[in-house]
């Protein structure tokens, strides 16, 4: 039998029993739509997670931290004679930069500073890194832009940093009053004090007096009453784009070029340890600056593991999103299997519906099948006719089910205002193929039964 005749005969007998065919197809439509929607939710959630990971440094970024006990020298017990062995220095930067597949290495140094603008001040850390790293991380500016090489020190402010400024007298800021401090970073003059301790001391000597032990010891040793520390005029290079409520990863950052800030802090703390930097056994500072972190960016995802292992072998600690991604992938897989399973149950019900309908129609068509056999229809063709009917139910059900899924997906995304449900092309295609496959499977037993019917049933006169 020709396949065109096979298909038109199958279509004919489906068409003859319109209502029953429609109901059977409806079952398949619901089954396929629920599978596709469930899987699409899984994909959507997965994609959202991946987007979040990308926001947090992406898949090619490694953060390197000092090995051993870190920057806290008291707890360091590694490195043998040299307690600075696994700290991050300009040599570490060079070493890592010489490894293959590295596209960027930048030191990161956290510098304590008080920034004053008008009546307001912010006491906290400034993140210093190389210009290249700044360029890599901060790209969208509302005002100003990145500092250039050789520029004097200038800060980049995050779009929500203003909230961290407080009135220098009342100590009340946005978080207390709910009122946004009135500072224009780009226009009003900004002063920065790096010797935070001295600044606090000068501001309210009473509170520092009560600071018992340390103060007295200090007084015994070298009693030098200083005036208020030096203020530096550090302008803003730029303010990051975003409204005052548009939080993102860098919203609260204050950062700058590390090349511009290190000469200043070395000058400020000449002969004294820089806060946060390690000191030797005698409490004296080292000549070198030790970085808090290194930012490493690898040129492709596949060399992540290799690079991280190499860095760890150098004695440093490292952190990246690789494990997070792997965890996320795994839970996404589980989630999809669970959601898909829920949908599969409804397709199973639909498949039972197909088997049932086909068996019923075979009993009704016993005579017709017998006549076909007497007239010389091959057994294989009879089976194919029924499989073809089942396959057509699957095809039509799958197509309509997909249309329904796209509609439901659109509604879900409109309601959640996000891409919660994603139906990629492969899912739609897989939905249709799966639908046809399941339907044919459901039609198999009835088709065998039809094939085995006796041709004599056609002869007998009822």
């Amino acid at each position: 039998m020709r396949s065109s005749d096979l298909i038109s005969m199958s279509l004919g007998s489906l068409f003859k029993r319109k209502i029953r065919t429609c109901l059977t197809i409806l079952g398949v439509v619901i089954g396929i739509a629920s599978i596709v929607i469930m899987v699409s939710l899984g994909i959507g959630l997965d994609r959202q997670a991946m987007e979040m990971i990308a926001e947090y440094g992406g898949l090619t970024q490694i953060t390197v931290t000092p090995g051993g006990g870190g920057m806290d020298m008291g707890s360091r017990n590694v490195g043998g004679s040299d307690p600075t062995a696994y700290l991050l220095t300009s040599k570490s930067v060079k070493d890592i930069a010489s490894m293959p597949h590295i596209s960027l290495v930048s030191p990161i140094l956290y510098v304590d500073a008080v920034i004053r603008g008008g009546r307001y001040e912010r006491s906290g850390q400034v993140k210093a890194m190389s210009l290249e790293a700044l360029k890599e991380k901060y790209s969208d500016f509302a005002e100003g832009g990145l500092p250039k090489e050789g520029d004097t020190l200038a800060f980049i402010f995050g779009n929500m940093v203003k909230k961290d400024f407080v009135d220098y007298k009342t100590k009340a800021g946005f978080w207390d009053t709910g009122k946004m401090p009135n500072i224009d970073f780009m226009k009003s003059p900004l002063f920065t004090i790096f010797d935070v301790e001295a600044y606090e001391e000068a501001k309210n000597p009473d509170s520092s007096q009560s600071n018992s032990g340390g103060k007295e010891e200090n007084a015994e040793g070298q009693l030098q009453k200083k005036g208020p520390p030096k203020k530096y005029l550090v302008p803003a290079a730029g303010v990051l784009k975003g409204g005052e409520e548009d939080y993102f990863q860098y919203s609260y950052d204050v950062c700058c070029d590390i090349e511009a800030i290190t000469p200043i802090i070395t000058k400020v703390f000449r002969g004294r340890p820089i806060p946060g930097q390690p000191t030797n056994k005698n409490g004296k500072p080292y000549r070198e600056i030790f970085y808090n972190e290194l930012l490493v960016i690898v040129d492709n995802v596949d060399s992540m593991e290799e690079t991280e292992t190499a860095i760890r072998q150098m004695g440093y600690n490292s952190y990246s999103n690789t494990e997070w991604v792997e965890e996320e992938r795994q839970s996404a897989r589980q989630r999809q299997a669970l959601l898909g399973g829920v949908g599969a149950v409804s397709l199973l019900v639909a498949a039972i519906g197909i088997s049932n309908t086909m068996l019923m129609s075979i009993y009704e068509r016993t005579r017709e099948i017998g006549v076909m056999k007497v007239l010389g229809c091959r057994l294989m063709d009879i089976q194919l006719l029924f499989l073809c009917e089942a396959g057509l139910i699957g095809l039509i059900g799958g197509l309509i089910g997909n249309l329904l899924s796209f509609a439901i997906s659109f509604i879900i995304n409109t309601i959640t205002k996000a891409t919660t449900s994603v139906i990629p092309g492969w899912l739609a295609l897989a939905g249709i193929i799966f639908s046809i496959f399941v339907s044919i499977f459901a039609g198999y037993i009835p088709s065998r039964r039809a094939m085995k019917l006796s041709p004599l049933s056609a002869i007998r006169n009822e």
Partner: protein
């Protein structure tokens, strides 16, 4: 008219068909021997329950015998599997039913073309052949009618055309006039006689009506599963 003497197209030897009904065994055929020559119009007659239909079904390869041999067109079909029997029917057999068994959703041409569909013939060719065959049975005018739009006699003519369209070696017919009134019965019998055309086609018809055996070249009388009479009628 000159008699065409052919070789035996159908050769049946010692044929048994025993049905088991619980403990009871019913011998529908009880040792049948018969020969039908090519080009003959044979009528199998006998009382109700004598085993006529059982014999015909076995000859047409619709049912396997319990014992004995059946040779048709040189093939021994008694041990054929179901699928081999289908192939046998496809090569040699046309069948006319008592209750026509036309497909209700197909019109006359499509019904006649159905066996050709099963043989993979393309639509244009098979329609042409079906229309030609319908013309032979005098139904060209009704070729686009569906079975429900035709009388019993017309439906049976379509059924005859459907058996004829393949130009089979043998056409089997079980009570082809069983559902028709006497006038129409005569018309259909005349048509069958015409188709037999003195040796052009081999026909094998079952009937319980003795009068109809007068249209045949050979009358085979069956009683209790046995051939009790096998006579050749000289025509012309």
């Amino acid at each position: 008219m000159p008699e065409i003497k052919g070789p035996s197209l159908i050769k049946v030897r010692d044929l048994f068909k025993i049905y088991k009904l619980g403990e009871e065994r019913v011998a529908a055929l009880n040792g049948v021997d018969l020969d039908i020559e090519a080009g003959e119009f044979a009528a199998i007659v006998g009382a109700s329950g004598s085993g006529k239909s059982t014999l015909l079904n076995m000859l047409a390869g619709l049912e396997p015998p319990t014992r004995g041999s059946i040779e048709i067109a040189g093939e021994r079909i008694e041990k054929y599997s179901e699928s081999k029997l289908v192939e046998f029917r496809r090569r040699h057999v046309g069948f006319i039913f008592q209750s026509y068994n036309l497909m209700p959703s197909l019109n006359a041409v499509e019904n006649v073309a159905l066996p050709l569909v099963f043989r993979g013939m393309d639509k244009v060719k098979r329609e042409k052949l079906a229309i030609q065959t319908l013309e032979k049975v005098g139904l060209k005018k009704y070729m686009r009618h569906r079975p429900t739009e035709m009388s019993g006699g017309q439906q049976q003519r379509v059924g005859i055309a459907r058996a004829l369209v393949l130009k089979p070696d043998i056409i089997f017919a079980d009570e082809p006039t069983g559902n028709l009134d006497s006038v129409t019965t005569l018309e259909v019998m005349k048509l069958l006689r015409e188709i037999s055309g003195n040796g052009k086609n081999t026909l094998c018809m079952v009937t319980h009506d003795d009068n109809l055996s007068s249209y045949a070249d050979r009358v085979i009388r069956i009683k209790d599963g046995k051939v009790i009479e096998n006579i050749k009628i000289q025509r012309g």
